[in-house]
């Protein structure tokens, strides 16, 4: 986590209401002032919408202006400009606010602008934060840092304000009526907020959270950052975001194309294996046929030289012998007749 004070020679602080600068970034302002940095402050609304417990409301604008001036002096801010627009209605004065801030940017030429986070529960904070962001997208020459007031902010910088905590406390205590006659309660609350950040840097102290930007984020990036990537924006009209979306799509397409090529390679390998198996089967079949043919040929040979006569033929031979060789005939005459008859027998067809 970056805990360095963003480098700047001229810092311009924009506060929607008197007290926001002290509550949100009073410690950071005090540190800049201590470093010799020139700090100017623009407070946009007059704070008239404040509802006090005792109902006394007549001089609230004057009272808050007085408190603002005291707090400004306490923090060491060089120049204060109060725009005095109606409290809680800043959304209706966007053009005027933008024009005023633009003029300050031109004349003061800050390195860094501190503005309330546009992600906040107060509508005025949203308006001022959004205008700062719009100007950041169109006007060169400065870095933008959002500070947190009511809603916790996702930050990228924690400014160590431990050494200037007393200055911040004094500034907050200036706002008696602005803070419902209980500035000590607000100090404790915001002190707790600042102390809680010590968990991120693993050392005791008070830290103010800033989201420092050097290049304008798209709405998508803004939403992505604020929600820790949980919610992506609707892409909006930003050309850069469009490139990012195309990049995602092309990457996905490339992954799928590669997967397809892989699958095709595997399919091709499988086809080859099947073809090889078929080839082997064919070879086996051919070999089997050859074997069968060999067996058939071998069987034919056996028929030509039969090992024995069938039973029926054996009976026929016995009858023949009894006919041809009556008892008492000579052995030689019998053999001679047998050869002659056998020759006649084998030369005949099976039918015969």
């Amino acid at each position: 986590m970056n805990t360095d004070l963003p480098p700047a020679q001229r810092v311009f602080v924009i506060a929607p209401h008197p007290d926001d600068e002290s509550l949100g970034c009073g410690g950071t302002i005090a540190r800049y002032v201590r470093n010799g940095t020139v700090v100017n402050l623009l407070v946009v609304s007059n704070g008239a919408a404040l509802e006090e417990p005792d109902g006394q409301h007549d001089d609230i604008v004057a009272a808050r202006s007085q408190e603002l001036e005291t707090a400004t002096t306490t923090l060491g801010i060089q120049s204060l400009h109060a725009l005095q627009l109606p409290d809680s209605q800043l959304a209706h004065y966007e053009t005027q606010i933008r024009k005023t801030i633009s003029e300050h940017l031109t004349t003061f030429q800050p390195d860094l602008v501190l503005a309330p986070s546009p992600i906040d529960s107060h509508g005025d904070h949203v308006t001022v934060g959004r205008i700062a962001l719009q100007l950041f997208r169109s006007t060169p020459g400065w870095a933008l840092a959002f500070y947190e007031v009511l809603a916790p902010l996702r930050f990228n910088t924690l400014v160590d304000i431990t050494d200037v905590a007393t200055v911040k406390e004094k500034a907050i205590r200036c706002y008696q009526r602005s803070l419902f006659q209980q500035p000590q309660l607000f100090w404790r609350a915001f002190r707790a907020l600042n102390v809680a950040k010590s968990a991120f840097v693993h050392r005791a102290g008070l830290f103010e959270a800033l989201w420092v930007l050097h290049a304008p984020p798209t709405d998508h990036e803004l939403l992505d950052w604020i929600t820790y990537g949980f919610q992506s924006g609707d892409n909006g009209p930003s050309p850069l975001q469009r490139v990012k979306d195309i990049d995602d799509l092309v990457f996905a397409l490339q992954e799928k194309t590669r997967a397809l090529a892989n699958a095709e390679r595997q399919l091709s390998a499988l086809r080859n294996e099947v073809a090889e198996a078929e080839q082997k089967l064919q070879e086996q079949a051919t070999r089997l046929t050859t074997l069968q043919e060999e067996r058939t040929n071998s069987d034919t040979v056996s028929q030509i030289s039969p090992p024995a006569f069938p039973a029926q033929e054996r009976h026929f031979v016995r009858q023949y012998l009894e006919y041809a060789f009556p008892v008492g005939s000579s052995r030689r005459a019998a053999l001679s007749m047998l050869k002659r008859h056998l020759t006649q027998y084998t030369s005949k067809s099976p039918k015969e």
Binding site: R137, G141, A215, P216, V243, D247, Q254
Partner: protein, 388 residues
């Protein structure tokens, strides 16, 4: 008051020798001549402290990622400049621009991808066309004035990206370097090229998109032609040691001009060019050019006699293009009248429409750098040939 300009590009213009790098140096010199201070930012040189940028979007494409860092980092210093010029889509991440911004389009990646589709893998095709083209290039037209280096590119930018604020400024050839030389034989000796050979030159980086497949087939079919391959920063060429071939790499501009001047023709079969500086430089040197109808060739080589050397489009098929190339080489080789007519036509075209002073005038005028009280009409000074 002295104006300050930043140029955003991809590669170090002092280390690389591509067309865009030459153009970058040319812009720098011109702007300085007109009293502008110029700083060049690229992927190897970012503004101070840019590396700590936290909100820079991350891309899957490493190239786009590094370009994005250049554009986003430039926000830290943009207030120091009066205007910024981005080369191609290399400054796409400087969006929205907070100071007057210009984008110089040397090509369009949509057209480039289509022309080379059969050579590209599907993954690369998608990346080139959709990410570099329809993504980054289109983003580079938003809120920025577009300068196209040729009519062809201007047409493509308008057609593919819907850009409306487009001005064509044809790239100029430096005629102090590129002009016809008379001492050809001596120059051939210098580059170890046979005096009596019929010499063809290929001047590009070695890459598939430069149609090196076509070149190799043509080289195989022309054993009686001596080939000189003048190669820029690209892939390694596998033809080292080939018979009748001389490969010259990483040469200075003046040497390129000398090589072009002592050859007999330039063969430029590239499937796509935004401008095709080699074509214009060869014409300036009095070298007949056999080229595909891309970039400047498309518009300049439309009149006889140069028209007769123009190759047909690749859409009719590679074999036909190769056959046409061989036919044109043979004609040049055996028809001295045609050769001389083409050699004389090139140097006449360049001062008319492709010269550096004209480019400079149009460029500076587009940037609004002219002081209204003085006369800045471009003058074309004819060059005399120095003794070699």
């Amino acid at each position: 008051m002295r104006k300050r300009c930043a140029i955003l590009t991809a590669f170090d213009p002092y280390a690389f020798k591509g067309g865009i790098e030459i153009y970058t140096r040319q812009m720098r010199d011109t702007l300085r001549r007109y009293g502008c201070a110029v700083d060049i930012y690229h992927t190897q040189f970012l503004p101070e402290a840019a590396r700590t940028q936290s909100s820079s979007p991350s891309f899957h494409s490493p190239f786009l990622n590094s370009l994005s860092q250049v554009g986003r980092a430039f926000y830290r210093v943009d207030h120091l400049y009066d205007f910024v010029i981005a080369q191609a889509f290399f400054g796409f991440a400087y969006s929205p621009p907070r100071i007057p911004a210009f984008t110089v389009f040397h090509s369009t990646h949509v057209q480039y991808a289509e022309a080379n589709r059969e050579l590209f893998s599907p993954e690369w095709y998608f990346e080139v066309k959709h990410l570099f083209g329809l993504g980054a290039e289109q983003a580079s037209t938003v809120g920025k004035k577009v300068i196209a280096v040729s009519d062809a590119v201007a047409y493509e930018v308008t057609r593919h990206y819907g850009a409306t604020d487009v001005v064509t400024i044809c790239t100029g050839v430096d005629q102090t370097i590129f002009f016809p030389r008379l001492y050809k034989q001596e120059l051939r000796d210098h580059f170890a090229i046979p005096r009596d050979a019929f010499v063809g030159v290929f001047l590009a980086r070695w890459g598939a998109d430069k149609a090196i497949d076509v070149l190799q087939q043509v080289m195989e079919a022309t054993p009686d032609v001596f080939w000189v391959l003048v190669l820029g920063t690209g892939e390694p060429c596998p033809l080292h040691g080939r018979l009748n071939t001389r490969i010259i790499e990483n040469v200075e501009r003046s040497e390129v001009a000398a090589i072009l001047s002592c050859a007999d023709f330039l063969f430029h079969p590239s499937r796509y060019e935004g401008f095709g500086l080699a074509i214009a430089e060869a014409l300036a040197c009095g070298l007949p050019v056999i080229a595909a109808p891309v970039g400047v060739a498309w518009s300049v080589l439309q009149e006889p006699p140069l028209q007769s050397l123009l190759l047909p489009s690749y859409s009719i098929g590679k074999a036909q293009v190769i056959a046409a190339a061989l036919n044109r080489i043979r004609r040049l080789q055996h028809d001295p009248d045609l050769w001389h007519a083409c050699a004389e036509a090139g140097p006449a075209i360049v001062p008319r429409s492709l010269n550096l002073p004209q480019w400079e005038y149009a460029f500076v005028n587009t940037l609004g750098l002219f002081d209204s009280t003085s006369d800045h009409t471009p003058s074309v000074t004819p060059r005399t040939e120095p003794t070699p």
